[in-house]
Every structure is written in C-alpha cells, then in structure tokens.
Symmetry: C2
Subunit: 624 residues, 2 copies
C-alpha cells in the first residue's frame, strides 16, 4: 500500500512537515496549498527537498468552489486554475484535488457542472494535470460520492476522475459498497480519516475532530476493503484536520499517523481474508504484521522512586510479601497471588514514586515486540546478564515502559527467580502468605497528557489489541476528567487512560491526577480489616456519600456500617456488585483494591468523583 | 434582583466555592448535590458556613428521572426523595429542583405524571419543601416549559411550581413570551445560562458550552423581560456547565459570574424601558449602572519595557515624532496624528517590550470608571501630582490596564502637556511632523489566555460597550488561533482578542503570539517607502503569496511589484481594498500599518496565516 499524508495534518513550517513525513516513513505527501503560500521556499525548492528525501508529491489542493457557477465567475475560476496548474508543473505534482462547490454554486444542474468541468479538464490537460473530483459532505448541490462520480462520468475526459474521502462518505452514512462500482482507473486518489461519532454539524466535526485511523469510530478496514475490491492501487493518504495534532510536535504526529496506516493495512488484509478467503487477488499489495494473540494478564507493575519506604509500607499493609532484591539491579519484588509489584530505585534521583512500567503476559514476547517495533514503537534499551531472562520492552506515548513477558500456565514468572529474599529485607518484609486475599491486578489507571491521548489509544490498540470501551467524563474539583477504558475481550487486561483537565492556576493540579494500580481480591472486607490493623492510611470517604448510598440502594444497616468503617465504596448494577477502597497517594501513585461480585463489569464510575474530591481535599490540606 | 449561582459553575471544594460566591457578592447559592456528596463537611456545617457568610441556600438538585414510571420504580423514587427532603431540612433549603424525566420514563401520559408528582408534592409538604419542576430540552416526553407548566397546573398543589431555565427554552427556540402566561407565584425558580449558538446535540451543548450571560448568543435581556412582566421576583440563578470554568480559579470565575448578572440587570432595565416606557412598574427591583456613551477612539497605547531602544526605533521608522519625557515619571511619549504611544520604563525590570495599557476616549472618565468598578473591574492604583491629570484606570482580565480618558473635540489629550520634549531626546527623536501619514490607531490585537477568554469578552462588552463580531479561526504553524473582534458601532474602537493554541511542546510557542497595535494611514505605500528609507525591518512576505494574490485578484503588475517590494499585504472585498504591512516583533509586541480604501471593514483575515507563519519562521531562525 502506498502511504501518503497531507501537510495540513502536522504543525510547523512546510519544510519541517516534509522532514517529519520522510522520517516517519511515508511514501509521499499531499501539499496543502496554505502551507506553500506561507512558505518562503520556492516551489522548485520544495520539489527538490521532497526528491532528496525520497518523497513523492502526490496531490495539490489549491482551490475550491469551481463548478455550477455563472459564466463570468467560471472565467475567473479558469484564470486562477491556470495559474495553479503552472505552479503544479513547477512543483512536479500531477494530480489536483477539486472539491464539490460549497459556496459559490448557484446552478443545480449536473450537465452544466460537467460542461464547466470539461473546460477545466481540457485546460488541465495542457499542463498534464489530472483532476480528482471529490464530494464534500456539505457540498451545496453535490455531497455524496456516487453523485460526484456520475458527474465525473459525464465529464468523460481521461484526465478527470474522482477522489474518495472516507470522512465525507462515512460521516453521512453513505453506503461505501458503491465504491466497487467505480472503475479503478477513475479513482484518482483516496483520502482517509477516522473520527469519533459525534452529533454536531458535519463541517465543524470535519474541521476539528478528525483523527488517524484506529483513533475514531469509523469502520475503515471495511472501507478499504471496498477500495481494494474496486481494484484501486494508488496512494492512501491521510487528511486529518485536528486541533490537537495542529499544535503538537510534528515528528511525533507523523509517527502516530504512519502507525495508523501500518495498522490499517493489516486490518484491511485480515478483513479481506475474512470476507474473500485467502485465494482472492487484487492489485494493491497489503503488508501484514506478525500475528499475536491478546495479552492474557498483567505480568507485573513497576513503581520507580528515589525513596521507596512509603510504597513498601502500602504494599505490606495490603498483604503483599517481600520476594527479595534483584541479584544485580537495585530493584525489589513484592508479590501476592499473581500480583507482582517491582519497586525500582535505579536512576530514580529526585523521583517521587510513579508507575514506570507495565508487564503484559503474551504468548511470544519476541514476536510481540517485533510487531510493536514494526508499528513504530520505540524499543527500550535493556541490559541483562548472560544468565538472566531477556525482557522485551517498548516505550508507550507517555513514556511508560511496556514489557512483553512470557505467560506461563501456572501464573508464575520466570524472571522472579532472579530475586533473592535473603539480602537486606526492608522493615515491612513479613508478608502473610497464608492469606493471599489479593489474587491479581484488576486494572491499571494511567494519566495521559491531553496532547498524546489519541496517540496512546492507537498505540495500545495496535500493539496490544486492547479495544476501546465507551469513554466517560468524570467531574473533579479541578475540572472534567476524560476516562477511556481499553481492554482485552476476556478482561485479562483492563487499562484506563485518563486525560486530566489542565487547571493551570491551581497549585495542586500537578499532583491531583496520580496513576494507580487496582488489585483484585476475593474478600474486600478482609483485606480492609487486615490493612487497617497494619495501619493503612485509607483515602477517607465522606459521610454524605454513605447517606446517599443508602437512599439509592437501601443497603442493610450492617453492610452500610462496615462500608463506612473501612472507607469502602460500593456500586451495583443488574449484573452484580462492586466493593473497593483506595489508599492514600504516595508521590504520583496510589493503590486500589476491588472485589467484583457476580457479573459486575464496571469500575465503580459513580464513585470516582468522590475519590477525586477526597484526593483534592488531601492535597489542599498538605499544601496548607 | 436577587442573585444566585449553582456551585457546579465553579472549581474547588464546596467550601471554596461558597467562599468565592460570598466574596463576589452573590445573595444566595444553589447546592449541586454532587458537591455535597463528595464533601467531608456535614449538611449542618455547610448551612452554618453559608449563614456566616450571609448567603441564602436557594435550591437543591438531588435527583432526576422521577415521573412517568412504573409503580415499583415510583416507590423507589419516593424512598430516595424522602431521604433527600430530610437532608434538605438539615441544610435549611426549602426548594428542590426536579427536572423532567430523561431516562427512566416509560409512560407518556400527563395525567399519570401529574398523579405521581402529586404524591411527591404531598411527601415534600411534610418536610415543608417546595418542588420546582423544570423541562429539560432533551426530556423524554416533556421538553418544553409550557408542557411542564401544564403538568404543574394539573398537579395543583401549593408547594408544586415550575423552574424556568433560559438554556432549555432558548436552545430549542421555544417562544419565551409564553412565560408571561404563567402565574408569578407558580414560578418557583429561575436559572439563567447563555451559550454560543452551535449546531450540535443539545445535551453536549448544555453540558460543556454554557457561558455566563453576555458571553454567548442568547437574547437574555428579552428573556428576563418576560419574567419581569410575569411578575417574577425570586432569585435569578446562574447554572453554567462549562469545561473551562470548571478548571479555573473559582474566585475569578465567581467575579465573572457576578459581573454577568450586574450587566444583565442593567440590560433588562433598559430593555423594559424601551418596550414598556418609564412608567411601567413590576415587583422585581432592577438596579442600574451609570450610563455612558460608547468610547470614541483610542487615546493612547502604552508599551512597557526595560530596554526601550528597539521600540523607539520602530516608531521613528514609522514616522512617529518624539514628544518628550514625562515631568515626573520614567515615561516617553511618541505621536503621529492622533496616534499616541507611551513607552514606560517604570518597574519594568527584565520585561521584554509588551503592551501594558490601552487608553480609551470616553465622555466622562469618572463616570465610566465608576461604572467599570460597579461591574467588578479592579481599579488600578495611580499616583499623580497635584497639578497632573488624574487618570482613571481599571485592570482587564489579562492584566492590561484600561485607562478611561477624556475625549476632546480636536483629538488632543490634556495629559500630553505633562511631557517635555527638551529633556534628553533619544537617538531617533527627529520625527517628521510635515508628513503625518499615520492618523490614528485602527485596531489593537491582544493575545488572551484561553482560560480567561469568555471573561475578557464580557469585561469589554460590559465596561466599554464593545460588541462582539463573528469569531474566526486562523491556522498558524502552531495550531488554530481563535480571533474575536469587538468594536463600537462607529468603529472608533476595534479590539481583537486572540486565543492562541497551547503548543506546549514547541519551544518558540511563548513568543509566537505577540500583541500588536495597527495604525491607520492615508497612504500606505508612502509610509512603507519612508520606513524602508529609515531602515525598518519589515516582516518578510513570501513570493508564493504574491503569485497567489495575482491568481486571485488579477492585480496589475505595477501594484503587485510595489506590494512585493515593500512586503505589503493586500485584500479586497465588495466594499473596498485593504493594504497593510507588519514590522518585526520586538519582545512581545509588533506594529502594523493599514490603509483602508473604500468601505473595506475587515482586517485582512486571509493574510493572517501568512503573518503567523512568517513570525514563526523568524522565531525558529532566531532560536537556531
């Protein structure tokens, strides 16, 4: 598949954009006219730069609102078009994009539009330019791709074809299977965009909220399937208008963009295998990625800190046992059931306790890591001794290290053998192996910087096959927190990505959105009792909360008393019940313990505002 | 008018919110239940705190989705309601808000809904609670206020009435004049919200984009007029769900909120005077503000800097003359025509040149300042000698000082007499008074922090009667810039407020959105020629821009050459032409010179991306 991207997707100057696209590995680019007009570099210089970097210049988009107009307007449009065709000759770009008229058209007549477009096509032919005519979703008279194609067919010129844009087709819910009826040689260009489903006017939706494939809700592998079946074999180009991508580092955005196409190429291949069988042949070559199964569970979580005492104490209070120090590295291991927490003091100067790494159980770590690297994930360099387990790791967009670990049937992890309990046990080393109430990690909750949120979603979706669940917004004293759960189908991995509000003026903002690990247990009240006996500092839950709980659920008095005594939170739905509590925050991390009863599948979302407010109250108090 | 505000409008804890409301001068507050549930303070403590601060607790909003349900659900709802009525007795709140059912209603039957609400009313009566029933714009069966009132009428209980919310009425374009048909004693409560007109689903619009009155597009003075005519005299309460207000300093937001009600009160008074005449009497008392005419022009602009040489040089190159130093302050004055620039070195250590103050010509500065202060603007403390002009100034939300200056018929300013040219003229003091091509300030363009944008709009609207024009979005290499022009009807004042993208990762972001002053002139080419002769560093305009200009406008070659030689930009519309150029940026400020030909009324918006890109290119180069 030939990959391309429009310069409008990225921030920076045209030169910076071109460099970023080349570094990310695109085959070509579309020049968005605005980017050229504001550039001090001449068309010839741009052509030379792209050439040096091995990028083809696939498309130019210099004007709109051409057809369906009065004769004097048409004449002005042709004048302008000719100037642009000359410019395209300087740039060496052979295809021009022409969108259906949204503004100046006054005559709703396909024959007339086609006749006017014929004049444009004949003019373009003099400059060896092909015209790709595209229906905008909000075109005045022409807003669906089949209508645009009918007009292109009427134009009937070899250098006049159509451009298909997934946004303009899928946003309006046009049936994309009609693509297969268009002759392949008449599909001059394809633009791809994903978008979250939103109910707003389609123009604003398109101009601000497009995202890269895999980051939104459109069925793009199916869309691509229609193109492949139609016999299309040209560039597949990203044209993403997104307020955030426009203002973030262009190099990162270009990598995110490239990842989306690599992933979509694989998804398209899988979709075609499903629908057409393996023998189906088509002109477009679709590269695939190493196939991996879903990860089955968290292998470990790693907390990094200069001073580890407070984290050790929390783990001890939660019933974790000290499994020892690593033979060669300044790293401790604490375990309970299949929950493993690594505490890492390596290169942690001045670092408050923070989640630094997550280990995922996978079938084959080397294959999984190779897949991630092909998806442009950055490998984490690791040193290991000859007799140690070689661990595979890549860096997530927020710099969390993602380890791909070998899953074992009995739930153990081979690398734990490198830890020796004898050497220098910390104060609270005495675990309680007779009462391993905590069994595993239920979920992990990471704060994401707002500018890398979409990138993070695609990263976890493409490298670890985590599927996005519906996102929610949770009120906190510092603003709304957007929460996006991603998980495997069997719930072995549940990962929540949170985007916190900026709250620039609140001095406590930075520390108010710590990450956390939630452990699953079989008996939450027993875990809480033990923790209280060991002096755990529970996050306090206000009395007003329990009064409301009673009004909502009519809990029996004894349960309500128990919940309140241990600062436990409660939720219930048709499928079951959820009990949980939070520890105090240490640095940038805290822990949660949860008990799922029956088929409860959520995360106690109604209780999250209570947690956020309690954490805010605490951070205010510590500040005073 | 009794003023009130819902705690959901503000950030922080319930206690912080209550303090902020009291400090801003509200009469009462609505407690949003979530704020109470997450608070560690008991209902009694909240009641006591409000009491101490002199705030009434006007409304509680503990549940939704009551009526139109099956009997067993109704029974659970009554159980929950009774718990909440008990809680309201502890809080000392007498009115509960009940929104029409959006989620659980399954029976579309007004008689049944009324019968179920009767049972709720009778239960509430036992706790002396009144119920204010409000139609939500997205209510399942009841979504307009007249329907809700018909049901309230059927309920027919003295403690059952209606609540009217401007958002739910105006967002759906219901005719608000129906309000006048509702008996005054049955309007239990009024909630006010403004909002920008947006075409998106009404729920998202309501939950994220409400703003304070005067910051959106709703005709709220007219809305209030209907309420006053209906005889309503209860609290007028703000219930604003806004993503930005939720995350900004609650004290500022509360002041912004209070300003909106003070302004709306005046606007309502003026509206009723217009429609009913001065003799009209009604129960609601409406306070007014000192009446002022529109400001007629910019009296001066002030640039503050530690090192003033570069600004002086720019002014000299633009043809300004040095009018001297202030008698007692480290301040210089440069003038040309009626354009006056004050350069201030006072307390400017380490300060890059920045726009620090704007002077506005007003009829009566003392009255205008008093009005601004009544609108909660912060006065700027000023020291002046006995024989000096006493200048009135208040602080705008971005800390720019707004001076209210006496306008004189001949365009001079009395305070300029305090400047004496004799003492220590700087290097470039030789102005060119024979060629005062620049006549006045055309417009000023200020960058606004995103979190204070709505506040700034209301500030200029209420204190200086500037009217918002349609806002635009301009692409820059660091993201979209939102631009909002505000002006007086006669264009004497044109002020553009710009919200820049955050571009946190771009090292040049901070300096890429300087403010600027645009001077009007009678002959731009002559100004440019003189400036070039004096060595002005023009902001360079790329050749690609001129090629496009030619394609768009077919300019004659000579004009095009002249434009390109002097780095001039050009725009044209049906009403006239616009020529302009920009200087290099010095610190956080640059200058523009514009020539309006014919009736051109814009700002060369198509050229702004060219300017932003050129400034970005420069800042990148300076960085390298």
């Amino acid at each position: 598949m030939r990959t391309s991207i429009a310069t409008v997707c990225l921030s920076g100057t045209l030169e910076e954009k071109i460099h970023a696209c080349a570094e990310a590995g695109f085959d070509g680019i579309e020049i968005f006219e605005q980017d050229l007009l504001v550039s001090p570099r001449s068309p010839e210089q741009i052509r030379m730069l792209a050439d040096e970097l091995g990028l083809s210049l696939d498309l130019y988009q210099p004007f709109r609102d051409f057809e369906g107009v009065t004769e004097d307007l048409l004449e002005a449009n042709l004048y302008r078009a000719e100037a642009k065709f000359k410019l395209m000759n300087l740039l060496g770009i052979g295809t021009v994009l022409l969108c259906t008229n949204v503004a100046t058209a006054t005559i709703d007549d396909d024959e007339l539009a086609a006749a006017q477009l014929q004049r444009l096509a004949d003019l373009a032919a003099r400059y060896s330019v092909r015209i790709a005519y595209e229906a905008l979703a909000w075109g005045k008279y022409v807003n669906d791709f089949e209508h645009a194609w009918r007009i292109a067919d009427l134009v009937d010129r070899p250098n006049f074809g159509t451009c298909l844009d997934s946004f303009h087709i899928l946003s309006r819910n046009w049936d994309p299977s009609g693509i297969e009826k268009i002759p392949a040689e008449k599909i001059f260009f394809v633009q791809l965009a994903d978008a979250p489903r939103m109910s707003m006017d389609v123009l604003s939706w398109s101009r601000h909220h497009r995202v890269f494939p895999g980051e939104g809700d459109f069925a793009l592998a199916q869309f691509m399937g229609h193109l492949v079946r139609a016999g299309y074999n040209g560039p597949v180009s990203l044209e993403i208008f997104n307020d955030i991508f426009r203002q973030t580092d262009e190099k990162r955005t270009a990598v995110d963009a490239m990842r989306s196409l690599i992933w979509l190429e694989e998804q398209t291949h899988l979709h075609l295998q499903d629908t057409e069988g393996p023998g189906f042949s088509y002109p477009m070559e679709l590269a695939t990625l190493p196939k991996v199964d879903d990860p089955t569970g968290f292998n470990f979580t790693e907390v990094k800190a200069e001073h580890t005492g407070a984290v050790q104490e929390l783990l001890y209070q939660l019933g974790f046992g000290y499994a020892g120090r690593h033979r060669t590295k300044p790293v401790q291991l604490w375990t309970q059931g299949q929950a493993r927490v690594v505490i890492n003091e390596q290169q942690a100067r001045n670092l408050e306790p923070s989640i630094a790494a997550l280990g995922f159980d996978v079938e084959n770590p080397v294959v999984a890591a190779s897949r991630a690297v092909q998806l442009k994930a950055q490998p984490v360099p690791r040193q290991s001794q000859a007799d140690e387990e070689v661990l595979q790791a890549v860096s997530a967009p927020d710099s969390t290290e993602v380890f791909l670990c070998e899953a074992s049937a009995d739930g153990t992890a081979a690398w734990t053998r490198e830890f020796t309990p004898e050497s220098g046990a910390p104060e609270h080393a005495a675990g309680d192996p007779t009462a391993e109430l905590i069994t595993r990690v239920d979920h992990v909750n990471l704060s994401q910087p707002w500018q890398h949120y979409d990138e993070a979603v695609l990263f976890y979706e493409s490298t670890l096959s985590l599927a996005r669940q519906p996102s929610t917004e949770v009120p906190s004293p510092l603003g709304l927190v957007r929460s996006q759960v991603m998980r495997t189908e069997d719930r072995g991995i549940r990962l929540a990505l949170n985007v916190a509000p900026m709250a620039l003026e609140h001095p406590t903002a930075a520390s108010s959105y710590p990450a956390h690990v939630a452990f699953a247990c079989t008996d939450l009240i027993a875990v809480a009792r033990r923790a209280l006996a060991r002096g755990l500092d529970f996050l306090p839950v206000p009395a007003n909360y329990y009064a409301d709980l009673q009004a909502r659920f009519r809990l029996d008095e004894q349960l309500l008393d128990t919940l309140q005594r241990y600062n436990l939170l409660y939720d219930r739905d048709e499928d079951g019940e959820f009990l949980h509590f939070y520890t105090a925050t240490v640095g940038n991390v805290f822990f949660e313990v949860v008990e799922r009863r029956g088929g409860y599948d959520g995360y106690g979302a109604p209780n999250t505002p209570v947690r956020l407010a309690a954490q805010y109250e605490r951070s205010r108090r510590e500040q005073d």
